[in-house]
Every structure is written in structure tokens, then in C-alpha cells.
Point group: none
Chain length 131, copies 2
């Protein structure tokens, strides 16, 4: 594990968000990078770089990824920074008051999630707050 956490350098957070989303979805589907590469006709190396936010994939690549992961294109596009509207909600919701429950606990306690989904979500969260 490369412990590359500090970052804040070349890539934007949006690209990183897209990569984290793709990685989480791929792991949820129990696909390796090479399996997904075979399905998408995109090289495993490049998929690895996209997932870690090193590159910004083109429309063509984005679509084949969505296709392989059985996601709606809109989901991927919004993750790619195409916030179609309403990025206003977050600030208003911040007044919810910080409870004593951490985000990790909330994820673990969420009955809607399967074990795999829980793991994937916690992985993304950890990659964000890692330090």
C-alpha cells in the first residue's frame, strides 16, 4: 500500500471522487482490474490510473465503464464533475448538528447495506480521511 495520502497536488478532488466511485463499484461487483479491462476494452493499467485519479477518462471510456458496471451513465457523469444542478443542498444540510455517531458507525449500522457494500463504502471513506 503506497500510503500516498497527502496528495493535494496535481489532480483535482473531482477526479479523485470519480476514481473512488469507480473503484468501489468495481469491487462491489467482485471484478479485478483485468476482468474489467476485458469487459471495457480499456487496459487494466489505465483503469488503475483512472481509479486513483491520475487521469480523466474520455467519454468513450466512461461509457464503457458504466456499461461494464451496469451503472447509469448519469451516475458516472455526475461523479465526473457534471453536477447537473443543485450543488446547493450540502450547505443547508450542514446544520443538522454533529451527533456523537461517526460516519463510520453510521455506515456500519445502516441496515440497507450488505456486507460487501459496507466494506466498499468504508473503503472509500477511509481513503478520503486517511492521514
Amino acid at each position: 500500500m503506497s500510503t500516498e495520502g497527502n496528495g493535494s497536488g496535481r489532480w483535482s478532488a473531482q477526479v479523485n471522487a470519480l476514481g473512488g466511485f469507480i473503484r468501489a463499484q468495481r469491487q462491489l461487483a467482485n471484478l479485478s482490474l483485468r476482468e474489467m479491462a476485458a469487459m471495457t476494452s480499456v487496459s487494466n493499467a489505465y483503469l488503475s490510473q483512472v481509479e486513483r485519479g491520475l487521469h480523466q477518462p474520455s467519454l468513450k471510456v466512461l461509457r464503457s465503464i458504466a456499461d461494464a458496471l451496469q451503472l447509469s451513465t448519469d451516475q458516472l457523469l455526475s461523479q465526473a464533475g457534471w453536477a447537473r444542478a443543485t450543488e446547493t443542498a450540502e450547505d443547508a444540510a450542514s446544520a443538522a448538528g454533529s451527533s456523537t455517531v461517526t460516519t463510520e458507525d453510521a455506515i456500519r449500522a445502516d441496515p440497507r447495506l450488505s456486507a460487501d457494500q459496507r466494506t466498499a463504502l468504508l473503503g472509500v471513506l477511509r481513503s478520503f480521511v486517511e492521514g
Copy 2:
């Protein structure tokens, strides 16, 4: 184009749907390539090439073009050959108005996350609980 009497427009047709669409919209708005270049921060040279189908613009360029021409992103995307590849039947199922918002709230209230990261995490979570 030297010999092309570009006024009457019989040109090689549907191969270049996106470029033709952009050019038509630009002329409809009475913009020159340079004016549009100034608005989009994309060079006039490249815009010319995109309009003639010589290159396939990136997401960033596509969005700034849509912005300058006051088009919806969906309009441009569908012209770019993005006709909703995955035939997701569950587009409408989003309206499940469950009151279980604890995990969402925890993510929104987590001070360790940036706005982009928050959006990404919420996107993953949403994709999990709606599928």
C-alpha cells in the same frame, strides 16, 4: 476551406453530428469562432476542428461549449453519441421516500470531508441503497 461555398451546406452528412450541431448553434447565436473561444477558454483553432469533426472534444471542452451556447448538457451529450447506452429500467425508482437518512446525515455532517468527497460518498451510498 478553399473551394467550399459554405453557405448552402451540403456536407458529408451524419458522420459529424456533434460538430455540425455545435456549428449550427453557434451561428444561430451569431457568434464567431473567436468570440466563442473567448467565452469557452478554448482556442478558436480547436473549436474549428471540433466543428468540422476532426477531433473529439473532452468532457471539459464539451461542457464549456454547452455553457457558452446555453445548451443543456444533455443536448450536447446526445449529439455526441451518448444516447443512454445502458437501458436502465430503474430510472424512476428513485422516489422511495424512506425516512432512513442517518447515514446520509452522518456523511453530510462529517467535517473531515470536502464538498467533493461528500458528493462522491453520497453518490456511492445512493447507488447502493437504490439498487
